[in-house]
């Protein structure tokens, strides 16, 4: 494996909830609170309903109450609707990290529900996912977006995949393989407007959970998906510097998420002390809102 891919995977695997700096943990709580609240606020949006109707026709083996439909959605499609709704519910002047969180948080949140990820570990996966997404966005550089790429579909996807992989308990080697799937599915065009940006966030969240699970189930990727000669940066950001992702990684945290407390902050905090899981609280809120 390459230095960059391995470096990201090893960093992600090494972070523990005990060692998470307080302000980083608070940033993850803020992101989770904000994304879930935004998604709840967008339940009535026509695009969310369209996606919900489309995906609920496929049947489901899960019992997840889902945004946009009265029927349960399976995990992949719960991630897609959650990401789309979170993006639609976001204010237009949101910072980059908030946009990235509309893919990262849904991927982590749904991946955590597939396995047996504790709420504290969910916060770790969100923090690591946002850190990788933020660093990747910086490393891709401004030309990446100027050319027409949707940074949530690229940088957000790397972070969402790493976060989902942590929530699913992947090893470092498996995380590296998952990044292979993340790079090759990086997609999305920024010229499509708010509706397509939202759909891209939802698709990115779903694809990222899939990437992580594919790797966990045994499918391997190439050694250098990020910096290889025909890898992500070579194709979508020739002027970017993939090595920048690793600069200071593990020594300092780059992402910062602050803002007003929204609907779920107290539930997230109370889940620390063994109260009802944040997922249960969210499910109730969704059921009541629809």
């Amino acid at each position: 494996m390459s230095e960059i891919t391995t470096g990201i995977a090893n960093f992600a695997r090494a972070v523990t909830s005990d060692a998470l700096p307080l302000e980083v943990r608070q940033g993850a709580i803020q992101a989770l609170d904000t994304v879930l609240s935004q998604a709840l606020s967008a339940i009535g949006e026509p695009l969310v309903s369209s996606i919900g109707r489309t995906l609920s026709r496929f049947g489901s083996s899960s019992e997840l109450p889902s945004i946009g439909t009265d029927l349960p959605l399976s995990f992949a499609y719960a991630a897609m609707t959650l990401g789309t709704a979170a993006s639609l519910g976001m204010s237009s002047d949101s910072l980059l990290v908030a946009r990235l969180s509309t893919a990262v948080v849904p991927a982590c949140f749904i991946a955590a529900r597939i396995g047996t990820c504790a709420d504290e570990d969910l916060l770790v996966s969100i923090a690591v996912g946002l850190e990788i997404a933020s660093r990747s966005a910086d490393a891709l550089g401004p030309r990446h977006v100027e050319r027409g790429w949707d940074v949530v579909g690229s940088a957000g996807r790397l972070g969402a995949t790493v976060g989902a992989a942590l929530a699913l308990g992947l090893t470092a080697a498996e995380i590296a393989d998952a990044l292979g799937f993340a790079c090759t599915t990086s997609a999305g065009l920024s010229v499509g407007g708010k509706q397509l940006a939202a759909l891209s966030a939802g698709k990115t969240a779903a694809d990222s959970v899939e990437a992580a699970l594919l790797a966990k189930n045994g499918l391997i990727g190439p050694p250098s998906p990020i910096e290889g000669r025909r890898g992500l940066f070579a194709l979508v950001a020739r002027e970017g510097d993939p090595a920048q992702i690793l600069h200071g990684l593990g020594e300092s945290w780059q992402f910062s998420m602050t803002g007003e407390t929204m609907l779920f902050a107290s539930a997230i905090e109370s889940s620390r002390s063994g109260a009802r899981s944040i997922a249960t609280v969210f499910d109730s809120a969704v059921a009541n809102a629809q």
Binding site: P46, L47, S50, I51, R53, T54, L55, F58, G59, S60, S61, S74, F75, A76, Y77, I114, E146, R147, G148, W149, D150, G153, G180, F181, C183, T184, T185, S186, A187, G188, L189, S190, V191, G192, G193, Q195, L196, L199, S200, K203, V209, E210, L213, L214, N217, G218, L219, I220, G221, P222, S224, P225, G228, R229, R230, G231, L232, A234, L235, V236
Partner: protein, 444 residues
């Protein structure tokens, strides 16, 4: 109207006409071939892994590949496309290097199982799905692939979206919206060649194109400027592109699906001339001790080195990108089938030994369809075999009989008793429906 709207209008009008006989025949050959390659890979471990993922993440609607697991339509499409391209044994449009059949077949097949879609509609969906994605690929050729994109995935989403649109009975506006949405869901970087991610490109393209059409069915739209905007699909994916290939006036005037070819060997097509030359040398080498071979030189088009220049292979998947592996097994066995590109053969001691003595020699004088293999014996003598146009090329396409032999061999002993029934139904797509074809696979 934008170029995309005009293209979609042209595709819709074409969907309302009768296909020329030669297009019907080539469409059936294309469908038949990729159905065969998908069934040939149905028990690969990697297919198992993908199905498991679909079971964990997706819904439950249909089974495919004659297997028992119930997947939803998107994961069924993903599995079908993955399996169809898994062995790199499917098809190739030589100018673009697109493998167009896998994503197209994989997108329309689940819809054919779920709905009462008439056979002629499925045939039209297959024809237009292939035609549309090849034309979008031609519009960016050669820049797009040369940059490093796996064009089978990046254009496959278009083929899957168009095929799905025809299956769902969309008008021109619907087709335009489905293509536009699919343009935001591209997949495919060549860095992943030699890993299971390469066939995943075809599978995910099928799934994404199908998803795009299903969203349009529920009212989702996308701007028609996405294809040709200054920051749109063509612009971000290619340094150079032209809309001439998607000019609606050109649609139906000529059919690029007629240039599609079907692989006689399960590996990158650029190595096929050299592999064929090697198999032709086999009879002369059958009684020659391997130790008497000093070295083997392969004069070939430089693209062989670029695309299939791996110096060694430790797995069957890696062997598919190792031209000298194909030459070696051709010399040692006279064949180049799935067995010769298996994991076991990739590390076979005899193969490794001769492969290490085999070298590619890029030569501009050799076209993409030509190669010369020279075996240098330790007594100073040489055996030389040239191929000017490989089997499976546009100049020497596989005959219907050769395709049939390939199909039956891919189905293997498990489906042997039903192979003729499956082959007859599949080669009659249009007169038969997808449900009827699948019934023969399932043994119903």
């Amino acid at each position: 109207m934008t170029a995309l709207e005009e293209f979609a209008q042209g595709l819709f009008e074409l969907s309302q006409t009768t296909l020329p006989d030669e297009v019907v025949h080539e469409t059936r050959r294309c469908f038949f071939n990729v159905l065969g390659t998908s069934l040939g890979a149905r028990h690969a471990r990697e297919v198992d892994d993908l199905i498991l993922t679909g079971l964990q993440l997706g819904g439950a609607e249909i089974s495919v590949l004659g297997r028992s697991e119930i997947l939803d339509r998107l994961f069924a499409a993903e599995v079908l496309g993955f399996a169809a391209h898994f062995d790199d044994f499917d098809d190739t449009h030589l100018e673009t290097v697109i493998h167009p059949g896998a994503a197209t077949m994989a997108a329309l097949y689940p819809l054919g199982l779920l709905g009462d879609v008439p056979g002629p509609v499925a045939l039209m969906a297959m024809a237009l799905g292939v035609e549309a994605q090849l034309r979008v690929g031609l519009a960016m050729t050669p820049s797009h692939y040369d940059l490093g994109w796996h064009i089978t995935g990046t254009c496959g989403v278009v083929g899957a979206a168009v095929a799905s649109s025809v299956m769902l009975g969309f008008d021109a506006r619907g087709i335009s919206n489905a293509i536009a949405l699919a343009l935001t869901m591209t997949v495919g970087q060549r860095e992943a060649f030699g890993t299971p991610i390469k066939p995943y490109h075809a599978g995910k393209a099928a799934s994404n194109g199908l998803l795009a059409a299903l969203l349009v069915e529920e009212g989702v739209t996308a701007p028609a400027e996405l294809l040709t905007d200054d920051a749109g699909y063509f612009a971000v994916l290619s340094d150079e592109w032209s809309t001439a290939w998607i000019d609606p006036l050109d649609l139906g005037r000529r059919w690029v699906i007629l240039d599609n070819t079907y692989k006689p060997y399960p590996c990158g097509i650029v190595a096929h001339p050299a592999i064929e030359a090697a198999t032709l040398l086999f009879p002369q080498l059958a009684n020659v001790d391997d130790a008497k071979i000093e070295r083997v030189s392969v004069a070939c088009n430089p693209l062989v080195v670029e695309l299939m220049g791996r110096p060694s292979a430790s797995t069957g998947l890696e062997a598919r990108f190792c031209a000298i592996h194909g030459v070696t097994v051709g010399l040692l066995t006279g064949r180049g089938g799935l067995t010769e590109f298996s994991d076991a053969m990739a590390i076979d001691a005899r193969v490794v030994s001769l492969r290490d003595r085999t070298k590619l020699e890029p030569d501009d004088a050799h076209g993409r369809q030509a190669a010369t293999v020279t075996v240098h014996l330790i007594d100073g003598s040489t055996l030389v075999q040239s191929v000017e146009a490989a089997s499976g090329s546009v100049e020497r396409p596989l005959t219907d009989e050769q395709l049939h032999e390939k199909f039956v061999a891919l189905l293997g002993p498990e489906l042997e008793q039903r192979s003729e029934a499956i082959a007859t139904a599949a080669m009659a797509l249009g007169r038969t429906t997808i449900a009827e074809i699948d019934g023969t696979v399932q043994g119903r």
